[in-house]
Symmetry: C2
Subunit: 355 residues, 2 copies
């Protein structure tokens, strides 16, 4: 493997000194880039794009050609694991992800296999290996998975949901079944992330997109607990370096102290919390990633710079901050605004890292 030329991202996650604040964007390989839309059109369908290591590698690298990002993130879908568990993922026109065989009964849960990632999710591991090769050590590669609770919402609902009637019905009425489902899913996710690390992922992020729809009690019992179990089971060193874990619960600002107890190296923040307050609450224990409102990228470059300046000032001096958006970049954003954002982070953060 090539030695890393830019390891700011990994260093910041471990609170080691850096020259400036590293930055990447959730969904940086995505629809806001015309070159992504071109590859997507060539692939035929979103699933074909995910399943082709060459095309997944191509779109993973696209934003790095445009912007001086400090990390690459594997292009994939969060629902590859339930798909490999036999649920039959497909994307209906304009409807988002759907499962052909959602989890509806005790028997469905008992029947779920724990997939072997190298054979059943081999296309993802091939993509990781190919991306690492193509990156040639420019920046680290982030692997990822959805959290067990987040995956379970799709598995039980059969797709996206507004009310979460079925999955919460199960949680409230049959917590025993919900725990069995989450336990299996957590085992599958642990194996999946470890396989990504073995294939070359240098950090991993757990996306808990729907943890924030739970009560504080249920968040701890049905989401956080399984993420902690995954983290416990992860390979934490590879190629002679620590493999940091980032935990991101959207809407989890109230629960940062609990999240910091999981053994995660860093917590992802959405924009509904002040990052300075978050640092005061948990900054000694973990690094922080975030947290600009992705909608700021609709505003002018000058406004974007001001927002970046405010967030840098709120975090304050020293390492332990990876700049990011508080959620994925929106498809309607002008790539020039993304460029202004990334440049602003690099330029404005230097003074915070001088002795």
């Amino acid at each position: 493997m090539n030695p890393l030329k830019n390891d700011r991202f990994l260093r910041a996650l471990l609170k080691e000194p850096v020259d400036l604040t590293p930055v990447w964007m959730m969904r940086q390989a995505g629809r806001y880039l015309p070159e992504y839309r071109a590859t997507r059109a060539r692939a035929g369908s979103f699933m074909e794009l995910c399943r082709s290591p060459e095309l997944a590698c191509e779109v993973t690298l696209q934003p790095l050609e445009r912007f001086p990002l400090d990390a690459a993130i594997l292009f994939s879908d969060i629902l590859t694991v339930p798909d490999a568990m036999g649920l039959g993922l497909y994307f209906a026109q304009g409807e988002g992800p759907r499962f052909e065989r959602p989890v509806q009964s005790e028997a469905d849960i008992d029947r779920l296999p724990i997939p072997d990632p190298e054979s059943e999710l081999g296309y993802v591991m091939d993509a990781v290996r190919l991306i690492r090769r193509e990156l040639q050590g420019r920046v680290p590669l982030i692997g990822f998975s959805g959290s067990p609770w987040t995956l379970a919402t799709y598995m039980v609902e059969g797709g996206s949901s507004k009310e979460y009637a079925r999955v919460k019905g199960m949680l409230y009425d049959r917590p025993d079944l919900m725990h069995r489902l989450l336990d299996k899913t957590a085992q599958a996710v642990t194996a999946y992330l470890n396989a990504q690390i073995a294939a070359g992922a240098q950090a991993v992020q757990i996306f808990d997109t729907w943890g924030g729809i739970l009560t504080p009690r249920d968040y701890r019992e049905f989401s956080l607990r399984y993420m902690a179990r995954i983290i416990e089971g992860l390979t934490r060193e590879a190629e002679g370096r620590r493999v940091p874990v980032i935990l991101f619960t959207k809407g989890g600002g109230a629960w940062l102290e609990d999240m910091a107890e999981t053994g995660a190296d860093a917590l992802g923040l959405d924009w509904t919390i002040d990052i300075g307050e978050a640092r005061r609450r948990v900054g000694d224990k973990v690094a922080l990633q975030g947290n600009m409102d992705p909608c700021v990228l609709y505003a002018s470059p000058e406004r974007i710079q001001r927002e970046v300046a405010d967030i840098l000032a709120a975090y304050g001096r020293g390492s332990g901050h990876v700049f990011n958006l508080g959620h994925g970049i929106h498809p309607g954003v002008d790539p020039e605004h993304a460029a202004a954002f990334i440049d602003a982070v690099h330029q404005l953060s230097r003074p915070y890292h001088r002795d």
Copy 2:
């Protein structure tokens, strides 16, 4: 006017002693009730239902015929005010609310009138008067409005939104325009709520459904500030009694201390915060309303009772708690489950109010 036979709801909002914890449900007049669906079908359209004082009165009273609720809430839509400001509200089949003429420019904002509620929203005031007459003092009637920020999201986006690209684009790039829009909307809402109070509303709730999508700084500047201004302008006494104000920001759990400074009598809570923790933070200053996850109503009556018991125990002894869901009741809920919920609150709360 008839003297109030059941004033538990008003007393709890003012932290005066009660015999048991009062309860009502957001959207209690709604699609989960077959009798509502029948009236709605008879009305022809949702807008006809809102615009007919007789039909609005009929659906307002329906849940009170079924359940021993401690308050009635005016049946109306939160977008009546922008409609009266000339935006042209309509409901497209299966699409939610839309405006024919969304606010897109400085000129659009300058042109917005501040409607006279008695003439331009007379159908709402007629409904309030009719409901009060029909209630015959059984329980108090709650009036309501959307918050200026929440209304502005629909006014600028032209309807519901997922990303809020336009309204946040305006907020970030043209805060001056956003403030002018919010200022006018706050004036219109103040007049609207005061007219409801004059017509007979005995408490009012401000629904800040979308305050929680803002950063903490922008929440204070663009949502909370205008709600505080409205509260300052409200008639606080009518018929010899205080008219309590309830402030409900969905996702506002982190900002309760700031919300308690507005002069509101009570804060509405969604289910992502523990009500015991909320009480410790602000309980001396304001009453609390909430906060069961509406999805619990999909579970069995036994499970619903356990959840009610947990929330009552978390709040603890004494007055100052109005039981409610953390958001509107979902259309798919079995009315028998709503009945079990309401009975559980009344039965299980008595011990918390004994000396």
